[in-house]
């Protein structure tokens, strides 16, 4: 039994934490929050690229570090903890994973080294309307290598160079790769709940698009990418939830009312204990997801859904109750509680909301029960 990060992985994680504490203090996050013109922090992006993190799970042959999924999970937890304002998830958890899953050798050779070097930002464009992603909801179409349609919202679509797009070809869904520098691409930046993470509406009018994976496999591949991303995002969520708990604890110790720290009241103590419990359950589920990501492909659909459901619940609960613990100060712009509150929602929705993932989880369990 070895159900934890290894010593090497722990070292990587603690180095990542130190790096982000130095390079991504909350001022960097607020820099993006307070400047509508900025979608992410370019200096931090470059610094993170120098660390090789975008290529952590990209093979060395393609310019990556050639580490495993578990190492990427360790990095993800630290990025989540730091609320890093970066298009990291879109680029690495979605687009790089999609290329690794379905890309041709030529596509992998062309794009993975650029992603590993931090030269390319990716985005994963699937939905077009409010509500859960379904096959019927995909209207974008590709004909003779030209993509037409609208994708909204596309996280990091305003700054991305490369898009993986879900569209229909001959009435059947498939994935395509679109170089966003090409013709037939219009972008409109959207106002987002979490301004430290940007999104856009992408309008394609006959944009050149090359197939990614087989025709007709769009939904299956999109789901496979979402499963992988869900695990990695769960680590970001666990990192954020831990930091929110620490903030709540510190405030509960520092803030005096009725002659003593508010953290001496059971209403606060039990609330924080409940945050701790949810965080630990989420961490354990995320660990199982990490194992499945690396070694247990057959278990991944269940493990990913469990990791996501647990992490969504934990980060949301930690973020809202951290804010509540701060009282009126928590409702101000100047105190950081709203940064976690916003990010918890952003991460909780970006790969599809918890409600839909619960349904996916139970469908898997039914199949397992029958088998």
């Amino acid at each position: 039994m070895d159900f934890d990060f290894s010593d090497d992985q722990k070292f990587l994680k603690s180095e990542a934490r130190k790096f982000l504490e130095a390079r991504c203090p909350v001022g960097v996050v607020r820099g993006v929050l307070d400047d509508p013109a900025r979608s992410y922090d370019i200096d931090l992006w470059k610094a993170v690229a120098e660390q090789g993190w975008m290529g952590a799970a990209i093979p060395e042959a393609h310019g990556g570090l050639g580490l495993g999924g578990v190492e990427l999970c360790a990095i993800a937890e630290e990025l989540g903890r730091a609320l890093a304002p970066l298009p990291f998830a879109s680029t690495v958890y979605f687009v790089a994973e999609a290329l690794k899953l379905a890309g041709s050798p030529a596509q992998q050779g062309r794009w993975l080294p650029k992603i590993a070097a931090g030269e390319v930002i990716g985005c994963f464009a699937t939905v077009e309307r409010p509500g859960v992603l379904t096959e019927a909801g995909v209207q974008a179409r590709v004909e003779a290598g030209a993509l037409t349609g609208v994708k909204i919202p596309v996280t990091d679509g305003d700054v991305a160079n490369l898009a993986v797009v879900l569209a229909k070809e001959g009435g059947k869904p498939r994935l395509v790769l679109v170089d966003l520098a090409g013709a037939g691409v219009a972008r409109e930046t959207l106002e987002t709940l979490d301004p430290t993470r940007s999104a856009a509406k992408l309008t394609f009018t006959g944009a050149p698009a090359e197939p990614l994976g087989e025709a007709g496999e769009g939904m299956v591949l999109a789901e496979a990418v979402l499963n992988r991303a869900a695990v990695l995002l769960a680590f970001e969520q666990v990192g954020g939830a831990d930091k929110a708990l620490e903030a709540a604890k510190q405030y509960a110790l520092d803030r005096y009312a009725f002659g003593r720290p508010i953290g001496g009241n059971q209403a606060i103590k039990h609330k924080l204990a409940d945050i701790y419990i949810k965080n630990e359950l989420a961490r354990s589920n995320a660990y199982y997801g990490a194992w499945a990501l690396n070694d247990g492909a057959a278990e991944l659909p269940v493990a990913a859904a469990a990791a996501r459901v647990s992490a969504c619940e934990a980060f949301w609960f930690a973020a809202k109750e951290n804010l509540q613990t701060h009282g009126g100060m928590g409702f101000t712009w100047g105190v950081d509680c709203h940064l976690y509150y916003r990010r918890a929602q952003q991460l909780g929705l970006v790969a599809g909301g918890a409600k839909a993932w619960k349904e996916r989880l139970v469908s898997q369990l039914e199949r397992r029960n029958v088998a």
Binding site: Q266, A273, Y276, N285, A306, K358, V362, L365
Partner: protein, 406 residues
């Protein structure tokens, strides 16, 4: 991240499995009613003796005291393997998990010599006499009096919630020896002979119908000063040793619950069709699954720490607080699905042999025993998160002057 044994672990597991296959007894067929009233006590004792002789009882204890002289991870692996066999119940758990370790840590040499080996071999059974009617969560408020009389102590009072008192040979007793000092300072620990005159055991009839616990009354029970465990007035510190020795909650844990609800939902109708198609129920099943799996993998993290020779992190403290409410929620929801049929508790008639009805009636006990939900949250808040203790109005007050509300 790896679920496989290391080669060392695998070797130990093979060895344990082979030994169990050759030695584990076949069940007599008597129902396993746990601590309730083991009808198969002789089988339990025989199995414990056999394990002790092979070094599989109290695996982590020194060989000098009859233990196995092994490591925590070995104990965990043996426990997992033993759970695969249909072995007799374990009426020795409280004694070997809490009482005897306290004797080993705080008792005198003669007591260690006298008690440890027979307990390991299952020859003598112990119970723990801490809780009282007016000292539950606040166990340091124990009122049972021990008054010195020459070389003896005379004990009067009442204990409650004592598991296994009716079949125990000895008990570890927390008593008030000085009511004139603050409550934590006036307690002293003793061992007592449960068969001595002046000890009366009365079973508690629980709401579930079972009787797993007892009240124990003391009327002029006379004990020798040599039966004292630890110094006079040091009983609270000694009791903390007992509570810290509580076995690591590793092993089973009702993981099957969500599966059973899912099965039930495939056979039961709602107004809108089969229950299994009901999205509200499906969301609940997902929530339960995630909690049960989260606990399972939290136990794996604890085992990993043990396997690496490290002390498990505080995450091992969340188990009961999650599982007890989970059990209650699942039971109530399942009975709601059964609708009017849910009122039937006859296992012959109720779905799934009335499993959910039984769980519903046991869950309140689980939320209270061994630390209530509220006390466990306090422990997490104080010991894990470092938040301040509750305001204690009785802290600096002589015990006899503490308000009792009566």
């Amino acid at each position: 991240m790896d679920f496989n044994d290391t080669s060392q672990e695998a070797a130990y597991r093979d060895e344990a499995r082979a030994w169990l296959a050759a030695n584990a007894p076949k069940r007599s067929g008597a129902p396993d009613n746990g601590l309730d009233d083991p009808t198969n006590m002789e089988e339990c004792r025989a199995w414990q003796r056999k394990k002790a002789e092979a070094g599989y009882a109290c695996i982590t204890w020194p060989k000098q005291w009859g233990g196995g002289g092994g490591a925590q991870w070995q104990s965990v692996i043996f426990g997992q393997e033993e759970a695969r066999f249909d072995t007799p119940g374990n009426p020795f758990q409280i004694g070997l998990g809490m009482c005897v370790p306290t004797v080993m840590t705080s008792g005198n040499e003669a007591d260690k010599e006298r008690f440890v080996r027979p307990a390991v071999r299952g020859e003598e059974i112990w119970c723990q006499l801490f809780s009282e009617p007016a000292a539950g969560s606040d166990v340091a408020a124990a009122r049972t009096r021990a008054v010195r009389d020459g070389a003896d102590w005379v004990i009067n009072g009442q204990k409650v919630w004592t598991s296994g008192a009716h079949f125990s040979d000895f008990g570890l007793l927390l008593a008030r020896t000085d009511p004139d000092v603050p409550k934590h300072k006036g307690l002293t620990m003793f061992w007592i002979d449960m068969k001595a005159p002046g000890v009366e055991v009365r079973p508690i009839h629980q709401m579930s119908g079972a009787s797993n616990f007892n009240e124990v009354y003391f009327s002029d029970l006379r004990v020798k000063d040599s039966q004292r465990v630890g110094a006079v007035g040091d009983g609270w510190r000694t009791s903390l040793v007992t509570l810290m020795n509580e076995r690591l909650a590793i092993g089973g844990g009702g993981g099957a619950g969500h599966r059973t609800v899912l099965k039930l939902a495939q056979e039961i109708s709602t107004l809108t069709g089969l229950a299994v198609k009901d999205s509200a129920l499906r969301e609940k099943i997902a929530d339960w699954f995630v909690q049960a799996e989260g606990l399972k993998y939290t136990r794996y993290r604890t085992m990993t720490a043990l396997s690496r020779g490290q002390t498990p992190g505080p995450e091992s403290s969340i188990g009961k607080v999650v599982s007890a409410t989970l059990m209650q929620d699942m039971a109530a929801t399942a009975m709601d699905l059964e609708d009017q049929f849910g009122i039937i508790s006859d296992p012959q008639t109720a779905p799934l042999a009335a499993g959910f009805q039984t769980a519903l009636m046991n869950a309140p006990g689980l939320r209270i025993a061994g630390g209530t939900d509220e006390i466990l949250r306090n422990i997490i808040a104080e010991r894990v998160l470092g938040l301040p203790q509750d305001v204690r109005l009785d802290k600096e007050v002589a015990f006899k002057d503490i308000p009792t509300g009566r």
